[in-house]
Amino acid sequence: MTNDADIAPDSIVRTALRRLPVPEHSRSFWEELDQTLALEPSRHVHEPALAVGPPLAPSADPEAATVARPAQAGTVSRPPTRARAAAAEREPDPTSRLVPPSLRRRSNLLLLLVAAAAAVLVALSGTALVHNRAGSGLGTGGAVEVPAAGAAGAAAPPR
């Protein structure tokens, strides 16, 4: 099905693909992206050096332009993208900082409660078992008290 010719680039197809020019982004693309990324929870360890200082001046290096440019007058703003809406939904609730991360999901809390209840039950059962064994003499080295013969006879039902 495949041979060595498939490994080499196909010049005809490559030329054809180059006939399909790739457009630039819309003018507001980088501004929107910056706004979206700004909604993400910060993970700063320390203030990075690249983030301080004045905004970068336009330069010949296209990659050096930041996405943090202020919105230009007359820029048409598009409705929020799905990505941005999803990011907004993920904005952390400040009240949740009081709750440990492992307990922020309701199902985790429920599991914790069930586990605690099970632990209490086990502890109670264990205590009751120990008491029973102590009361019946099982707790004194395994010796079983055998009732006296007379006592056994007295306890026997009348014929």
Partner: protein, 194 residues
């Protein structure tokens, strides 16, 4: 980690004048440095646009997909392996975002053929426009896996191993898809040019 400035450089100078490696920018992005991450994205944006536009054939869809892909990359940048290639990693995220978009919207590239062709309106550009239309509609007739594979290998210049890594398939599957895609493309292009 802060990139080192060249000796004698004024620390108040814009950092844009220094050449920082991808890995250094990734490290800065991991610490929450958005401008550093933006630099990283701009460094690879041309190729991501090439993939997204050739697969989706729509400028608006390309922008939406790349917004989602770049956001995902920012969220997952801590998972990026230090020894890996950031471009390949970003390609994979972009590819997955394209697949998601195609699965949700089922766009019809041929129906949108007139939208946002960057060559339209160019003086004397008529033959180029028609050639791009031919290629666009020919690509639209390929299946999505075939289209992505041919764009990666013949459009973006990846070898089979790299394309397989991006697509998450075996290199043999890439060769197989490529064979079918090229055969079909040659046939379609031959018919359309005739």
């Amino acid at each position: 980690m802060v990139p080192m400035l060249p000796a004698g450089a004024d620390s108040s100078m814009p950092v844009s004048t220094t050449r920082v490696s991808d890995l250094e920018l990734v490290e800065l992005a991991r610490q929450g440095d958005r401008p550093a991450f933006a630099r990283l994205l701009r460094r690879h944006d041309d190729r991501m646009r090439g993939l997204a536009y050739r697969v989706l054939a729509d400028r608006q869809a390309m922008d939406d997909v790349l917004q989602a892909a770049y956001l995902r990359a920012y969220q997952d940048v801590e998972r990026f392996r230090a020894g890996g290639d950031f471009g390949t990693w970003l390609y994979r995220i972009t590819y997955n975002a394209c697949i998601d978009a195609l699965g949700e919207a089922k766009p019809s590239p041929t129906a949108r053929a007139g939208v946002a062709d960057p060559t339209s309106g160019r003086a004397g550009g008529e033959p180029v426009v028609s050639a791009s239309e031919v290629v666009r509609s020919a690509l639209a007739e390929l299946s999505i896996p075939q289209r992505v594979t041919v764009v990666l290998v013949d459009g973006e210049g990846f070898d089979h191993r790299e394309a397989a890594e991006i697509l998450g398939v075996a290199p043999g599957a890439v060769a197989s898809r490529l064979h079918r895609a090229r055969t079909k493309l040659r046939t379609i292009l031959g018919e359309k040019v005739r």
